[in-house]
């Protein structure tokens, strides 16, 4: 992901990146200055971190997205439960400053290794596992008010795209019509400075939950027949996938249709794509797609499509609990269609995967189900 030195980017873009880096660097130095100042004044050093929890998440009804509230917590050095995290926060802040200085980026795992060493004078390591490191980096994002890419960090590639669009990724032109059976792997950073849209003929985006279903659609050349873009997010879509969908929606005005499982998990994925998530509420404004549409699978499909008992997967207690929680989300609570949808699923007492439609016919989902729903505009907002 290192930027190519001979990057044919516009000068204005490079300037913007330099400004952005300078801003991030200054924020890191400010954080360190605050720690040093307090310490030398014999006061307890603290790092202020906005709280990433449901309690500090606000449902912006007007914009129809989840947003982060103003509440912050203080990470204290002289607190048994926070001392190590305080140390880790300082370590990562220092690492990020290094990255910015070297104009390089690292993966989350790379950052874990960059910060990893044995604490001087002990046998203890600075980080127990990557999860600890990832959490600290999210803390830094919010406390520095900088996005992950601004910290020169990227996540693992996740998700695939194919369809009637040509993009430029880090200066390379990529024709997504010619991506074979594998498709274009969506990188974790899809900001305009990395990816630009060159030419788009597609009229909409069909986002499916998993690559197995996506493969079915690709093999049937669905995107050619219906002139669309086909994406998948490998379950819960990553920030990169969500950001790309959001850009396709806002910059190219493409509607986003989602084909997800008929279960609480599928509903939750839709909720995240549409309204944003609690842990990334601070990024909702560039990730959430309030106009996204849920075309299936619907609870009514069991009867409507004449599916057999074999596709039923009984709801367990956890599923029921989760379904009720989701039904209570404010954006679902005020939506009669969704209340009906979840009620029916609970009444049915079972969930269904997208693949269950294959019991009808191998290509039922691509040739009949989705086209019919699109034509009938039968979806949930």
């Amino acid at each position: 992901m290192a930027k190519k030195p001979a990057d044919p980017k516009g000068g204005s873009l490079t300037t913007r990146i330099k400004e952005r880096d300078a801003r991030t660097r200054n924020r890191i130095v400010d954080l360190a200055d605050a720690v040093a100042e307090k310490a030398l004044a014999m006061r307890e050093p603290k790092i202020e971190i906005p709280i990433r929890a449901k309690s500090n998440t606000i449902w912006n009804k007007k914009q129809r997205v989840l947003q982060m509230g103003q509440a912050t917590s203080e990470r204290e050095l002289f607190n048994l439960n926070q001392a190590k995290q305080f140390m880790q926060t300082c370590l990562h802040a220092s690492s990020i400053k290094d990255l910015i200085g070297a104009e390089k980026t690292l993966s989350l795992r790379g950052m874990f290794y960059k910060g990893l060493h044995t604490v001087a004078g002990t046998k203890e390591k600075t980080f127990t596992d990557q999860d600890e490191s990832d959490g600290i980096l999210e803390d830094l994002e919010v406390s520095l008010g900088a996005l992950r890419e601004e910290l020169h960090i990227f996540a693992k590639k996740k998700g695939t795209m194919i369809g009637n669009i040509t993009i430029i990724d880090s200066g390379d032109e990529i024709d997504c019509r010619r991506m074979g059976s594998g498709g274009y792997a969506i990188p974790s950073i899809v900001e305009p400075d990395v990816i630009q849209f060159k030419k788009c003929d597609a009229k909409f985006v069909l986002h499916v939950e998993k690559d197995t279903v996506w493969g079915r659609f690709n093999e049937d050349k669905f995107w050619q027949k219906h002139n669309c873009i086909l994406t998948e997010g490998g379950g819960q879509p990553s920030r990169g996938v969500r950001r790309l969908l959001q850009r396709l929606n806002t910059e190219l005005n493409l509607p986003i249709y989602c084909l997800l499982d008929c279960d609480p998990w599928g509903h939750y994925i839709f909720s995240v794509i549409k309204q944003g998530s609690i842990s990334l509420a601070f990024e909702s404004n560039r990730l959430a797609i309030p106009e996204a549409k849920f075309i299936g699978v619907r609870s009514k499909d069991y009867k409507e499509c004449g599916l057999t008992d074999d596709v039923q997967i009984a709801l367990n207690d956890n599923d029921t609990k989760r379904a009720k929680e989701i039904a209570a989300y404010p954006w679902f609570a005020e939506h009669k269609g969704w209340q009906k949808e979840i009620d029916l699923m609970l009444k049915n007492g079972f969930k269904m995967e997208v693949e269950s439609l294959i019991t009808k016919d191998i290509s039922y989902v691509t040739e009949e189900y989705v086209p019919q729903r699109l034509k009938a505009k039968d979806w949930l907002e």
Partner: protein, 712 residues
């Protein structure tokens, strides 16, 4: 049955011909178990015990600080490996007042001859059976007479007497009677390399230490073994209860073969007797820690004062039986012909004033002029009843000589290697009209075994009780005390479990033993209650200490956590904005120290704010500074051992330098804790170089030990 007719008819006359006096000596020769000579191992112990008890009593009565040497020689050192017993020569030498020549036969050669039986006074021996019985046992098993050397007057020759007891006449027969200058015996100084070394330093049987004194030698069939109920344990415990005595033991060259069914041959961890590691140091600097030199064990003197002299008291009216009252009346008539009951009551009992005496007289319809001779048995019985119902002051308690808190601590300190010591001495109380006083002490932690039941050591009038533990009132009082209140484990109705030694001492003019062998204290409610109260007092002190220790441990852990990360933080901040890493580190470290000290004051187990009471400030507590040892720490090789020994010596030295004899205990530790108490936690905050302490890390908000780091 067919012989019945031919057998001579037994008549009252023929029976009368066979009926004759049984000499007490004969009786005990046949019933030696009654005196503690049931088996060879116990015989050896009892012999040492009786001689040492006599020596201590004699020294104390004469106002001499006891210096007692016990030598056990194995006379068959070449016996087979599995031979369970052997012939031993036991010699006990004391620096007491000696015995005048004409009394020697009586003291050593007669059973039931003594100065202690007829009086109500606190002493070790009571009946006057002991040493003569030992001599008799020796004579029976080896045929060898008892050998006595005694020098009653300094600078005059000692008597050398050999005695053989005639069991029939209860009289001793003197076989050798001569004067000698060889006292204490030169031979004993040349016995082993250890004795030679100590003697060359003038620390072993030096004639200057024994200007007067007595030496008793008995040869007997016995068995020498260490462990529970051994001579070693007896002397170890005696040293604890008698910190004013210096005791030296020269054990035989080898132990006897073990016997499977022998109870308590297992050697307990945490014994006072310790390896020779300290003996090479200057003995003057280590006055109160048991040492061993070439096998010779020296229990040093812990304090320089003799126990206060005790007074003899008259019996208390509530403390006698009817039969004894009748006998006393008879005796009084015999000595005071025509004496009145009124006078008898006042003269022969304690706590009977003139007015109480008249009250008693009128209670049995007698007057102040009524003569003792005129009291009929029914009247005596009425008098006895009146005694029981009367409201009388309890007997005086100046007849008791408790060991005392300070001396208890000194005794425990030299005998038991622990980190915490507490002692308590109760006020005197009365059972059956007899005054008694209970004292308790506990030692905790240090080198004591952590996962075993507590060891209970029992004493009556400073004499260790080694057998029949579970029959003893003191043992019951320990199991009935709820040690869980003091943060110790305790299975139901059992001894607490942990690195704990519990000592109980009963001082009384008459200790109620369950049997003549004086092995267990009878279970009177009054006695047991006092024992429990004394134990609870010690327990509370221990509980306070354990809580404090847990707090200190927590504090040290907190500090470790902070300190561990401060270096990393300083480096990271330095890398970001160039702040001087060293200055930052120092500032943060100073804060960490300050904060952990403050935080420690503020929370206890429940997070409540508590006063920072130093358990060392309590009366009757000594803490050997080694709080880093984890609770439940084993007895494995302890790298801090030398430090602990040093610390213990310092404490004792501090105690000895303070002249006020009693109750200065609290000052010594406090003075010490003031000096180093506040700075002390810093010691724990230092980075752990030795790695003795487990590393801790945070998991889910809790501290857990960190495993050896594996591969990531």
């Amino acid at each position: 049955m067919s012989k019945k007719d031919t057998a001579p008819k037994v008549t009252a006359e023929t029976m009368a011909a066979r009926q004759r006096d049984i000499s007490v000596s004969e009786f005990f020769a046949k019933n030696r178990h009654l005196l503690g000579f049931d088996n060879p191992r116990k015989a050896l112990l009892t012999t040492v015990k009786e001689a040492v008890d006599n020596s201590l009593d004699a020294c104390e009565e004469a106002g001499i600080l006891p210096d007692i040497t016990v030598v056990i020689e194995d006379l068959q050192p070449d016996r087979g490996r599995d031979v369970k017993q052997s012939r031993y020569r036991i010699t006990v030498v004391d620096n007491g007042p000696g015995i005048v020549r004409k009394q020697v036969e009586n003291v050593f050669g007669r059973l039931l001859f003594g100065s202690k039986f007829h009086r109500l006074k606190m002493s070790r021996g009571q009946q006057g059976i002991g040493i003569s019985a030992a001599g008799m046992y020796g004579l029976i098993t080896t045929g060898k007479p008892m050998l006595i050397q005694t020098r009653p007057k300094a600078n005059q020759p000692a008597h050398h007497i050999e005695l053989a007891m005639n069991t029939k006449t209860n009289r001793a027969e003197v076989t050798v009677d001569e004067e000698t200058e060889d006292f204490p015996l030169q031979r004993l100084r040349n016995l082993t390399p250890g004795t030679r070394e100590l003697a060359s330093r003038g620390e072993y049987l030096s004639p200057k230490d024994y200007p007067t004194g007595t030496s008793v030698t008995v040869e007997l069939e016995g068995r020498y073994q260490k462990g529970r109920g051994s001579v070693d344990e007896f002397l170890e415990l005696t040293a604890i209860a008698n910190p004013h005595a210096r005791i030296t033991l020269v054990p035989p060259s080898r132990e006897s073969a073990a016997e499977e069914d022998d109870p308590g041959t297992k050697n307990r961890a945490g014994k006072g007797a310790t390896p020779a590691d300290i003996s090479t140091e200057d003995p003057q600097a280590a006055p109160a820690v048991t040492t061993e030199t070439g096998g010779v064990v020296v229990f040093p003197r812990g304090v320089q004062e003799l126990p206060p002299e005790t007074k003899e008291i008259q019996p208390h009216p509530k403390g006698i039986e009817l039969g004894i009252l009748l006998q006393m009346l008879k005796d009084y008539e015999a000595t005071e012909k025509g004496g009145t009951l009124y006078n008898f009551l006042q003269e022969k009992f304690c706590r009977v004033s003139a007015s109480t005496a008249s009250e008693f007289c009128s209670a049995i319809k007698a007057t102040s002029r009524t003569k003792v001779a005129d009291i009929e048995p029914p009247q005596a019985e009425l008098l006895y009843k009146a005694f029981q119902e009367a409201k009388l002051a309890p007997p005086p308690t100046d007849c008791l000589a408790p060991i005392g808190v300070r001396q208890l601590l000194a005794g425990m300190l030299k005998g038991v290697r622990a980190e915490f010591y507490a002692a308590s001495s109760r006020e005197a109380e009365v059972y059956r009209g007899r005054p008694f006083q209970i004292e308790a002490a506990i030692a905790f932690g240090g080198e004591l075994a952590a996962d075993e039941s507590a060891r209970v050591i029992r004493f009556a009038n400073r004499v260790p009780l080694l057998f029949q533990q579970s029959a003893c009132s003191s043992f019951k009082s320990v199991t009935e005390t709820n040690w869980r209140n003091y943060d110790l484990q305790q299975p139901r109705e059992s001894l607490p479990i942990g690195p704990l030694v519990i000592m109980i001492h009963m001082a009384s003019v008459w200790v109620p033993f369950t049997s003549e062998s004086k092995e267990a204290i009878a279970d009177y409610d009054e006695i047991r209650k006092e024992m429990k109260l004394a134990l609870m007092e010690c327990g509370r002190k221990l509980g306070a200490y354990l809580k404090k220790r847990a707090r200190m441990k927590r504090e040290a852990e907190r500090r470790d956590v902070f300190q561990k990360y401060i270096g990393e933080i300083s480096k990271a901040i330095n890398a970001i904005n160039g702040t001087d890493a060293k200055a930052l580190y120092d500032a943060l470290l100073a804060q960490a120290k300050k904060r952990t000290a403050i935080a420690d004051l503020q929370l206890d187990e429940d997070g409540k704010r508590i006063k920072d009471e130093d358990p060392a400030d309590q009366d009757g507590v000594i803490i050997v500074d080694a709080p880093s040892a984890p609770i439940g720490g084993g007895t494995a090789a302890d790298p801090f051992a030398p430090t602990k020994a040093e610390a213990a010596r310092l404490k004792v030295a501090a105690m000895q330098n303070d002249e006020p004899p009693l109750l200065d205990v609290k000052q010594a530790p406090r003075a010490k804790s003031k000096g180093s108490g506040k700075a002390e936690p810093a010691k724990h905050a230092e980075p752990d170089k030795g790695g003795a302490k487990p590393k801790m890390r945070l998991v889910g908000g809790k501290l857990v030990p960190v495993e050896e780091p594996g591969l990531f």
